[in-house]
């Protein structure tokens, strides 16, 4: 995936931004290689949007340097805009214009020649499955369709770096698959993608992730490495009463965290060998008979919770 780490597409150094007393982004360093799909993940208010907006040259940083495709974004915002494309969390569409007109408008703003604009929008509409709706007013589209239209508008010129802020929030799973197909396609074409996401399955698809919290990057690595770096071991406890199971194990010695995942509970412990019997006993004490404890592969969500320390370890 990272065979050609020859060129750095996005380089950020010492980036900071405050809104009044809120320090939204604190002294961030990043380097994204060309052709990467780089993910920013973090809870609400972690500073994802703020970073994106600074990368896109819509927001001036208080301090720090940003180089996008070799262009200094802070000093040469206008020139940088030609190299990048930014899709905000809420893409601004003209609701009184049709899909085709919106694409045409944004294409013209970026100075894409007419012929190219038509060919490219055709191609993108097809990939997104929006071709049959191109004469529909943007205001009458479903949330997912709007999101895809936003992506098409962002892609109508050929950016070197694509910045996507939570591009698939509110999009149905099928559309999200289409969406990712488009992204993979772009990466094949050498486009570097930086995206923020709240979906863990999407985070897992990124080549590298930055875990943000409180405006700081806590961890930055490939999903595999992040999982490996997760402290402790993960156990999955299947039961018909997952909530009761979580109650039963929470706060027990050696339990670092317990996360509800559908019909299972993911429990992070310091030492699997030692804790499995103890937990089994604790659950039985609560009168839950059907619990099955197995070691589990951590998902990125587990890693996320573990690394960001949402829950403090409960040692006796």
């Amino acid at each position: 995936m990272m065979a050609e780490v020859n060129e750095i597409a996005v380089r950020v150094h010492g980036l900071s931004k405050s809104f009044g007393s809120v320090r939204a982004v604190r002294d961030i360093d990043l380097a994204v290689a060309q052709g990467e799909i780089f993910g920013l993940v973090g809870p609400d208010g972690a500073g994802k949007t703020t970073i994106m907006r600074m990368l896109a040259a819509v927001l001036r940083p208080d301090a720090g340097e940003i180089l996008v495709d070799g262009v200094d974004v802070v000093a040469e915002a206008e020139r940088a805009k030609l190299h990048l494309s930014y899709m905000p969390q809420r893409f601004g569409l003209y609701e009184d214009l049709t899909i085709a007109e919106n694409i045409f408008f944004y294409g013209a703003l970026f100075g894409v020649p007419r012929g190219e604009r038509i060919a490219r929008s055709q191609e993108l509409l097809e990939a997104a499955g929006l071709l049959p709706f191109r004469r529909r007013l943007a205001g009458q589209l479903s949330g997912g369709m709007k999101q895809k239209l936003g992506l098409i508008c962002a892609l109508i010129h050929t950016p070197r770096v694509l910045l996507l802020d939570e591009p698939t929030t509110g999009v149905d799973p099928v559309s999200r698959r289409d969406f990712w197909a488009i992204l993979y396609n772009l990466r094949e074409g050498g486009v570097t993608i930086v995206l923020s996401t709240a979906y863990m399955d999407e985070a897992e698809r990124c080549s590298r992730l930055a875990l943000l919290h409180g405006g700081e990057i806590r961890h930055c690595d490939t999903p595999q490495h992040l999982k490996a770096a997760m402290p402790g071991a993960l156990l999955a406890i299947a039961s018909a009463h997952p909530r009761d199971v979580r109650e039963a194990v929470s706060g027990k010695p050696g339990v670092l965290g317990a996360l509800l995942m559908g019909d299972r509970v993911h429990v992070r412990v310091d030492d699997a060998e030692r804790r499995i019997p103890e937990l089994r006993a604790a659950i039985a004490d609560q009168g839950i008979a059907d619990a099955v404890i197995t070691p589990a592969e951590p998902g990125i969500e587990d890693v996320f919770v573990a690394l960001l320390g949402e829950e403090k370890p409960h040692e006796p």
Binding site: P88, R90, F105
Partner: protein, 378 residues
């Protein structure tokens, strides 16, 4: 540059065309307000509710009252029998004006003395009251001359033409020579309506893009702020010109206001006025994040601009501080220009100070708003 500007304009045009109510919103309120203003905003007052207290009960007093009854300007709604009734009429809004003829009125008249007539007005509607007072003065003056002429016996004091009824209140609308105050008002209405329409349209259009998020979208494109601003303001400038033409047409065709002046002077004046007004709208939009804020600001600002324009209240009569404020009011200058062009037919030679002031104002407003617009993006 032209590609991006033209696509901005095309987009505005498309949005306007898609908006089924746009034409309705742009035209109907203007014409409607023009008609309402045309009929209502006039100094001519009819059917002023009037209470009369005749304590003299003489032939002279009844004759004076009949003068009031004879004109449609006054409706005598109460012939009171005492002062209390009069006070109550005014207090309960049954009458705007009360006329009290005191006992001894006819005796004083006969003696050639100044006969006092008491007029009580409801000060809450000072405009109507003032106008009505003017009419009263007129009626009383007529009455005085009649009385003086019919007096056969020689007067002991003063010449026969001396005023016999002691009322000296007088009211003259500034432009009452042709009896048609509408002529004075309608050009003012044109300027006022255009100001209100174009300022709010411009401000709202930009704030809306900010609110919907399209502004941020446009900003990441290589478009320059000036191009965006032009794309956003040119349509409203054109709409403003259309508005002025439309409302002027209504004024001329429906109210028969004369248009004596040079259409070119009107065009130049209108263009400069609209530049300033569009700049005002743009400036307002830089102070508002949401449409609600823009609405509040619009509401807060437009009234002072209207009141301090010389539309109804002469600027010269205002306190100094307010007079200074009128200097930054584009409507103030445009009213002078449009009235002069319509009614006096004067041209550039006379109007250059106002035209220059408008040009300067437009330049300042647009510069400040472009600078502020850049800043407000963060």
């Amino acid at each position: 540059m032209f590609e991006r500007l033209s696509v901005m304009l095309m987009k505005e045009f498309l949005e306007l065309r898609r908006d089924r109510w746009a034409m309705f919103r742009l035209i109907v309120p203007m014409i409607l307000q023009m008609l309402v203003f045309g009929y209502a905003a006039t100094f001519t007052v009819h059917h002023v509710t009037t209470a009369v207290l005749d304590l003299d009960q003489s032939q002279a007093s009844r004759s004076l009252i009949s003068h009031f009854a004879a004109t449609s300007r006054f409706d005598i709604i109460d012939m009171a029998t005492n002062q209390r009734e009069i006070t109550s009429d005014i207090d309960h809004d049954r009458a705007v004006i009360a006329i009290v003829i005191h006992a001894g009125f006819s005796r004083d008249l006969e003696n050639g003395k100044s006969a006092p007539l008491q007029v009580i007005v409801d000060g809450t509607n000072s405009n109507t009251a003032l106008i009505a007072l003017g009419y009263i003065a007129q009626i009383v003056a007529n009455f005085s001359t009649e009385q003086a002429a019919s007096r056969v016996f020689p007067s002991r004091s003063g010449p026969a033409a001396a005023p016999v009824v002691g009322i000296s209140l007088q009211m003259r609308p500034w432009f009452n020579e042709g009896l048609n105050e509408r002529w004075f008002f309608i050009p003012g209405v044109i300027g006022t309506l255009t100001l209100m329409q174009v300022v709010s349209l411009t401000a709202f259009a930009i704030v809306r893009e900010r609110e919907v998020g399209t502004l941020e979208q446009i900003l990441v494109s290589p478009i320059r702020p000036v191009e965006f601003i032009l794309g956003k303001t040119v349509p409203f400038f054109l709409i403003g010109l259309g508005d002025i033409a439309l409302v002027s047409f209504v004024g001329i065709a429906w109210f028969h206001v004369p248009f004596i002046g040079d259409p070119w002077v009107m065009l130049v004046g209108s263009a400069l006025f609209l530049l300033a007004v569009v700049g005002m709208g743009l400036l307002m939009s830089t102070f508002s994040r949401t449409q609600q804020q823009a609405f509040a600001l619009n509401f807060f600002l437009l009234n002072p601009f209207f009141i301090l324009s010389g539309f109804a209240f002469p600027i010269a009569a205002m306190p100094k501080v307010l007079q200074w404020f009128t200097m930054i009011n584009p409507l103030r200058y445009f009213l002078v220009i449009i009235r002069a062009v319509f009614l006096k037919g004067v041209g550039f030679a006379v109007l250059w100070p106002e035209l220059g002031a408008l040009a300067l104002l437009a330049l300042i407003m647009l510069t400040i708003s472009v600078l502020r617009f850049r800043k407000s993006l963060d």
